[in-house]
């Protein structure tokens, strides 16, 4: 028996596919397993195909799994769409009243979900409980683990009642009994008991919220947009509990404008959006850079351009994030690779915004926003929070209150100038999007524009020097290197592991900070291998273009842009092709 299984559930949006999957993932994780989920949603609230996939293993998992070991189809369409991704020798579970599968090499279990829910339970909504009961009976997660999750979820629901709870419990039980008595197990997947571990189970958006709170974010303004709205909703609820404030803005321009206003007032501030909202924010990104105001902007990328694919992943905002806005406007761009990063790098994002006084763009994507991972609890720790540099008391005394002789934009070696925060005794100044002198007064003299531009860009050089370098993964003597960014790291690393086990010499590099780029580390990495693959989920190869322009790299481009993230198999196939 294998102590790992990847289960995919395909169904119709609104019939409990996702919520059933969520319960399964949570129950498995609480039972002590590592979990990693992947899901797709239609853009509509009700109706449309959706799928949920969870990989459950007793060893750490870094990707969604290459194929489904078990495919549960809740209707014929789910079967048609997903059967191609069921592993050879995998398990198909279906309801014979929905359809009859074609003859194939899979193991099939026919379970009358609909009949059990409708006739035995007299409540069709228990269908996902019937499914979970069957999973428990066939593949091992103990019913108690599932019951616990269902009870805690249902008790929080506004539809909760003791009758409903009873029906759900009964459905789980009946279905488990049904498969135990009526099916003959022919597959090898059975999860055995594991040791309990101290882990937490959460998705990327939830980790972003936790990171923002740990970074002492005190203000959030935003406008609802898929797939970033959870961040806004989370902070709307949590900020008042820790002394912060929240504003739902009328549009994304207003959202970032309000963030800059709050930041000007000395409060650590952020917004969260996706591509279409990010497009609207660009004028304010320029202002943040020019007026040197800290701001953290989360862009949960989705398929573009325009309205694009609201509920699908893509890594296609990199070029835009690096360049958004007119003129030369320094900014920091950070891309987390996993749920733990969403927490730790959010704290880094705030610290960098405050220290370097510029916009920090934080690029997650749809797959990471919704990806549930089990993460060691000690990953989530309190961290030191970097404060922005304020004028020395002495300087305030010399200058006097209200005298606009304070050099807010003083030329310094690091480029970072002390920033005054409105309040008793603080020297005043006017922040402006116009080019200005050291005091902040409008100034278009050529030499002053040159000096101010150099000062602003000096901060990026300071940031580059102060950042830790990304680490190489894989062989020291690799002949093939793979460079990626963002949420694809796990799939790349699993492919590297697999390739090395097959005798290939491979290494990977996955920079988290994309502006300023860790130039030396990348140059060294490129120089250490014969060929470089740049793998990214976009059409045009945005990182490959950047590395080509900066380092003259002629990369082998591996691009996937259908809205579904890389699997480790995708990357492994690319490695094999290079070696042929």
């Amino acid at each position: 028996m294998v102590n790992e299984v990847t289960i995919r559930i395909g169904g119709e949006s609104g019939e409990g596919t996702i919520s059933g999957g969520d319960i399964l993932a949570l129950a498995a994780a609480r039972w002590g397993y590592h979990v990693y989920t992947f899901r797709t949603f239609p853009a509509e609230i009700l109706g449309g195909p959706c799928l949920f996939q969870v990989r459950i293993s007793d060893a750490p998992v870094k990707s969604m799994g290459d194929f489904a070991d078990v495919l549960i189809c809740l209707n014929k369409e789910a079967y048609d769409r997903n059967i191609g991704e069921l592993r050879a020798g995998g398990v198909l579970i279906y309801d014979p009243s929905d359809f009859t599968p074609e003859a194939n090499d899979k193991i099939s279990y026919a379970i009358p979900f609909n009949e059990i829910a409708r006739k035995e339970m007299q409540l069709f909504q228990t269908k996902n409980m019937v499914m979970l009961g069957a999973i428990s009976g066939l593949f091992g997660p103990p019913l108690e683990a599932i019951v616990q999750v269902v009870q805690s979820k249902l008790s929080k629901s506004r539809k909760s009642s003791s009758a409903l709870m009873e029906k759900n419990m009964l459905a789980l039980d009946v279905a488990k009994r049904y498969v135990t008595e009526r099916t003959t197990k022919q597959d090898q997947y059975r999860l055995g008991a594991v040791e309990k571990a101290d882990r937490v189970i959460l998705n990327g958006n939830q980790a972003v919220v936790a990171g923002a709170l740990a970074a002492r974010c005190g203000f959030f303004a935003g406008y609802p947009i898929t797939p970033a709205s959870d961040i806004m909703e989370g902070l709307a609820k949590e900020l008042p509990q820790v002394g912060g404030t929240f504003l739902q803005a009328e549009d994304e321009m207003a959202a970032l404008a309000a963030v800059l206003g709050a930041s000007y007032g000395g409060v650590r501030s952020m917004t969260a959006t996706s591509g279409p909202g990010f497009s609207l924010m660009t004028e304010l990104i320029g202002l943040s850079s020019m007026a040197e105001l800290p701001a953290v902007i989360v862009d949960a990328q989705r398929g573009g351009p325009s309205t694009g694919l609201p509920t699908k992943m893509e890594q296609s905002d990199l070029s835009f994030a690096l360049n958004a806005g007119h003129g030369d406007a320094p900014r920091i761009v950070i891309a987390p690779a996993n749920v733990a990063d969403c927490y730790n790098l959010m704290i880094l994002a705030f610290n960098m915004a405050e220290r370097y006084q510029m916009p920090v763009l934080f690029l997650t994507d749809q797959s990471l926003t919704a990806r549930v991972e089990s993460v060691e609890r000690n990953v989530f720790q309190a961290q030191e929070v970097q404060e922005r540099i304020q004028p020395q008391k002495l300087e305030q005394e010399l200058v006097g209150v209200g005298a606009q002789t304070f050099r807010r934009y003083a030329y310094t070696a690091s480029g970072i100038s002390p920033m005054s925060i409105p309040g008793k005794g603080a020297p005043s100044y006017t922040a402006t999007g116009l080019e200005h002198d050291e005091h902040g007064h409008p100034d278009y003299e050529p030499e002053d524009h040159v000096a101010m531009m150099q000062k602003r860009y000096r901060k990026l050089a300071t940031a580059a020097a102060e950042l830790p370098a990304p680490t190489r993964y894989g062989d020291e003597d690799a002949v093939l290197g793979i460079i990626g960014w963002g949420s694809t790291e796990g799939a790349i690393q699993e492919a590297v592991d697999h390739a090395r086990a097959n005798g290939y010499k491979v290494a990977a590099l996955h920079p988290r900070v994309l502006s300023p780029l860790p130039d030396e580390t990348i140059r060294t990495f490129i120089g250490s291998v014969q060929k470089v693959i740049v793998a990214e989920c976009n059409y045009s190869g945005q990182l490959a273009n950047l590395l080509g322009a900066k380092f003259g790299l002629q990369a082998i481009r591996v691009n996937k842009f259908g809205g579904i993230p890389f699997t480790a198999a995708d990357i492994f196939r690319a490695i094999e092709e290079v070696h042929q």
Partner: protein, 281 residues
Amino acid sequence: MTQSVINPTPKDYKSEVKPTWCPGCGDFGVLNATYRGLAGLKLAPDQTVVVSGIGCSSRFPHFMKTFGFHTVHGRGLPVAQGLKMARPDLTVVAVGGDGDFFSIGAGHLLHAALRNIDITVVVMDNEIYGLTKGQTSPTSPQGHVTKSTPYGLLASQFNPLATVLTLNTSFVARGYSAKPKELAALIEQGIQHKGFSFIHVLSPCPTFYHTFDAWDASVTPISANHDTSNRAQAMVLAMETEKQYIGLLYQQERPTMDQAAHHLVQQAKPFDINQYMKRFA
């Protein structure tokens, strides 16, 4: 020791940056009225922020000794609201022109009025785009011939006061740059009002649209008998176009969003990550 001015005079709010406006610009009158209004309230320059957008009038913060934020075109209002939400202890004044508030930033005006965040807005309306040298604005009269409407303006004229009255704005007033004493008094009242204060100021442009004489003739003080709690009556004054009424049209005290938000945080505790993560265990 830092010095704080005990009895400030208007010039204590004046910065060393010289205004960039044309001689005779109405905005000088508004600037002087603002100095006077802030001095009248003895507002501390280090706890007052003047926010603006883009346009001739939006250079305003540079001419003030208070804190200032000269933002981008149209976004003064959301910047000011974010600042006040995060720092309700500060006095926040948003200034700008008719382009900023009624055209590129018009969408923000609606929501600012509805939220009732405690900021004071001073719109310097000259019914023309000055900084870009004479194109039509939302408040230009229908038929007006400008560089961008060589055959006459086809759109209707925007009515700022009537618009904000429909949005339940809690303080609505109009002033005239040629009457700085009265305007200073309105600015004082607006800042003292707890809520979103909207002060529409007729501030003529001597270069691109000379309205001094017409406004001198049409500006009429609101009668002392006017009931400022009567929104319907205020609307009648706002809809009048032959006369341009100046003074306080409407005022209503109601809860502000910044105060409501800060009531919520009374029970706040410092964030504890270990406690917080328990929900994900």
